[in-house]
Symmetry: C2
């Protein structure tokens, strides 16, 4: 039996529709499939087979899109890696995922070579490849696979990133539920701004193939985020749909005073809580914002408020998607009445199947079919979800999740550090910024800058504390637990200009 990917049936059905738009170029679904087949042959020659795990260092480039579909069509499992990881973090995740191969593009090949032996790296060309294909075969009978399709690393609360296993069925049901909330039109074009190693970016590729709509790439693919480029791409490429994290929207509003281009039908805003001020500003400027709450373990969207709902109730993330169920429970697992804050639980066809090779973490996250998100929130009387706080101590900076435990573990590795407490400080541009309070060992001598440098060598840049404060001790509860909220309050106050 041939595995079912999302590109093949689409290319059979509407080969002439645009699949990928970047700059002045447009690639049809037929041409994208041809390119994917060429890369599939290259991967097969390198020894990738059905069930292989393929780690991937993929920027948001056309070749990366073709490669992702090639991995799926082979029946291999994609393990996209965060491009901002340090070599050490990267090496650890490749080992953890059991990946036998590493996929890279010209711009990431060097980094790949730095972390694994050369024979395990498959470097793909950035240019479109063709391949002579056999006469078009009929696509395989339709089936929604429940076997692993992609493994995405999420920062775990324990500090060690966990490997969430998502199936083709998860992505399929996510795409269907999303369209049943947000709608789609045959000529829609979705601008890819989020990284392909984030569920919010990766799922756009699969969603678009199912819908038969085009993915638009930013024209400065390899460069860092630039709000003016974002606006220009929206305008020039007649983009109708775009996913943004609040930091991106904030920067867009700051950098570009014009109203949104008329083609824009929807801004899907997620990845972190959006402040009411940001929402009001965006709505006033005419941006059709839909707020969403989602997480990797639920294949992105759990609940989404459409633009009219955001206007009526700014701050809510709306109702759960069709076929997704949400409960809010107290510490004993009892369902709470409307308005009361508790942990958000999620069940439904988009909930992941567990953490790879980590039955303990899986058992903690999935209980009786319910995903325990660790996020706090409440359902109001109308059934709309409000997210009060991401997992109590989670920091979301520019759409990236940072778990204090991971950063604290690194700080404690420094020979001068006795204790560390990492918190997120409010920040208009980034949502939150990472900060740390540190207690030194007796007679130790170290500056905050030295500690920051120490972190920078061991952690992806976005995880490094931007502010480190050395304190004589940390505030603790009677039982000896660090009072994180007090640390946060103190650092926040000091951070004020």
């Amino acid at each position: 039996m041939h595995p079912v990917d999302f590109l093949t049936p689409r290319a059979m059905t509407t080969p002439d529709r645009p699949a990928l738009v970047w700059g002045n170029r447009t690639l049809t679904y037929g041409a994208l499939k041809t390119w994917a087949r060429a890369l599939e042959a290259q991967l097969a020659r390198a020894g990738v087979t059905a069930g292989s795990r393929v780690a991937a260092l993929l920027p948001k480039s056309p070749a990366a899109v073709a490669a992702i579909h090639a991995v799926a069509h082979l029946g291999a499992v994609l393990v996209p890696l965060n491009l901002r990881l340090t070599p050490e973090e990267m090496r650890a995740q490749i080992a953890r995922s059991g990946a036998t191969h590493v996929l890279a593009t010209p711009s990431t090949a060097e980094r790949a070579h730095a972390v694994v032996e050369e024979r395990r790296v498959t470097a793909i060309a950035s240019e479109e490849l063709g391949i002579a294909e056999d006469p078009v075969p009929l696509p395989s009978p339709f089936a929604i696979r429940n076997s692993p399709f992609a493994i995405l690393f999420t920062s775990g609360t324990t500090g060690a990133p966990k490997a969430a296993v998502l199936t083709a069925a998860n992505f399929y049901h996510s795409a269907v539920a999303s369209v049943f909330r947000l709608g789609v039109l045959p000529d829609d074009r979705w601008l890819l701004t989020l990284p392909l190693y984030h569920v919010g970016g990766l799922s756009i590729l699969f969603r678009s193939a199912l819908y038969g709509i085009a993915v638009v790439l930013l024209e400065n693919v390899e460069a860092s985020f630039d709000p003016r480029w974002l606006y220009e791409t929206l305008r020039r490429r007649h983009v109708t749909l775009v996913s943004l994290v609040p930091t991106m929207l904030h920067r867009l509003l700051e950098a570009v005073p014009e109203p949104p281009p008329p083609s824009l039908r929807l801004v899907l805003l997620g990845g972190a809580a959006a402040s009411p001020e940001l929402l009001q500003r965006a709505l006033a400027r005419g941006y059709p914002v839909a707020t969403t709450y989602g997480l990797t373990e639920a294949t992105s969207q759990v609940a989404t408020a459409t633009p009219p709902e955001v206007r009526r109730k700014p701050g809510s993330v709306g109702r759960p998607l069709l076929h997704t169920r949400v409960r809010v429970v107290d510490g004993q697992g009892r369902t709470l009445p409307p308005g009361e804050v508790g942990e958000i639980l999620v069940s439904g066809p988009t909930v992941f199947s567990g953490y790879d090779g980590d039955p303990r973490a899986t058992r903690a996250a999935l209980q009786d079919g319910w995903l325990h998100t660790g996020d706090l929130g409440y359902l109001d009387a109308e059934g709309d979800l409000w997210v009060v706080n991401r997992r109590s101590d989670l920091i979301v900076t520019g759409g990236e999740n940072v778990y204090p435990a991971e950063v604290e573990a690194v700080l404690r590795q420094h020979p001068a550090v006795a204790e560390a407490c990492v918190v997120g400080l409010d920040d208009a541009e980034w949502g939150q910024r990472v900060a740390a309070a540190v207690v030194l060992k007796p007679h130790a001598d170290v500056t905050p800058q030295m500690l920051e440098d120490f972190c920078r060598q061991r952690l992806a840049g976005y995880k490094v504390p931007r502010r480190i404060r050395i304190l004589p001790d940390l505030p603790r509860t009677a039982s000896g637990k660090v009072q994180r909220p007090l640390v946060r309050e103190r650092l926040q106050t000091e951070a004020k200009p």
Copy 2:
């Protein structure tokens, strides 16, 4: 385990969105569910349980919509009956379906009582009912049921109507594939013009519940089709989507010279082949026509051309929907190259599971997972489907299918008739009209009007031949087979003014 219907998850998800619009009234999904629950209680009191088969005489009324969802939520199987059947035909279909109960509205209750004992009839009120509900329960976990959901009668080529069994999964995948071709927007409104006993009408209810959009009913629900009412409803109720058969579109263009209301996004034209002239006229008038080929056994749409595709290639029905596969084969089952006409075969998740209680017909229709439609057509070099002829001798008049064999069998029951050949004559308004050539027994004395009256007592009105010609004999092949095309040609020529 509670069966999954389509209304319940939708009502849980967006209870406040409009579900049903008729006249000035709008019913939300929450209110429609409450109504459906009240009817469900009534059905349960009447003895309907999960698995029961419920024959239904339902006009396109609000109560009928609620009742259909009630039957689904009970886990019972809906058997909607053509309202134009004679009492005799109706009695036969109720017996064939094994229905224990008959569901009727105030306007159809009398007809129901005429064909079955009173205790088997459940007459529902036309007024909205409420019911005290328990505190809102969480919807059941998502599952796509593969068990019977509805049984629809289709005219069989043998003359005896066959009972096609459709599952909830069939309707689900049809709805998803349709949206992946035609798109949907959260504020769409679908006007129900087709009968609820046709797959094209029934599927609109399930599709709309999945999408969360409103179904609009014609304001003169119980009256016969009136193109001016159609136009007025489109305009006043801001309808965006409508399914029409060619006869309806023809009459709309004749009766209303104005361009379509601006809200109208799509006219899904199916049920019979549309003439290129009709398409050109509709496009010229500004109607966004999408042509579709579908059949009951594939839960409606198989292939659909979007308006730009219709403009480019009028007459084609476009590519198969995503995950639907189409082959065109010769008499030996060999796949034909592009451009060659053969039988259209269909496979995919919308293909039905067989004819109820008729393993022979099921085996003939479903071979190796392929539905043998009996319809003739070809795929062009681009993969677009062209339907050349509905099952060679099938007559489609005003969107209703008429099988000559069924009408011929009735004619032959008349004591004066020796032989009969029923054909369809071209007709600008109806697409085709039923006509018959009849050979009388020696010394028999009967007029065409007497034969027509004889048919009218035994057949639904649309099946009755509008033109009956008495001939001394029928043209036959050397092997003795009636040459239907020659009969058709002769009657067509005589019919010309």
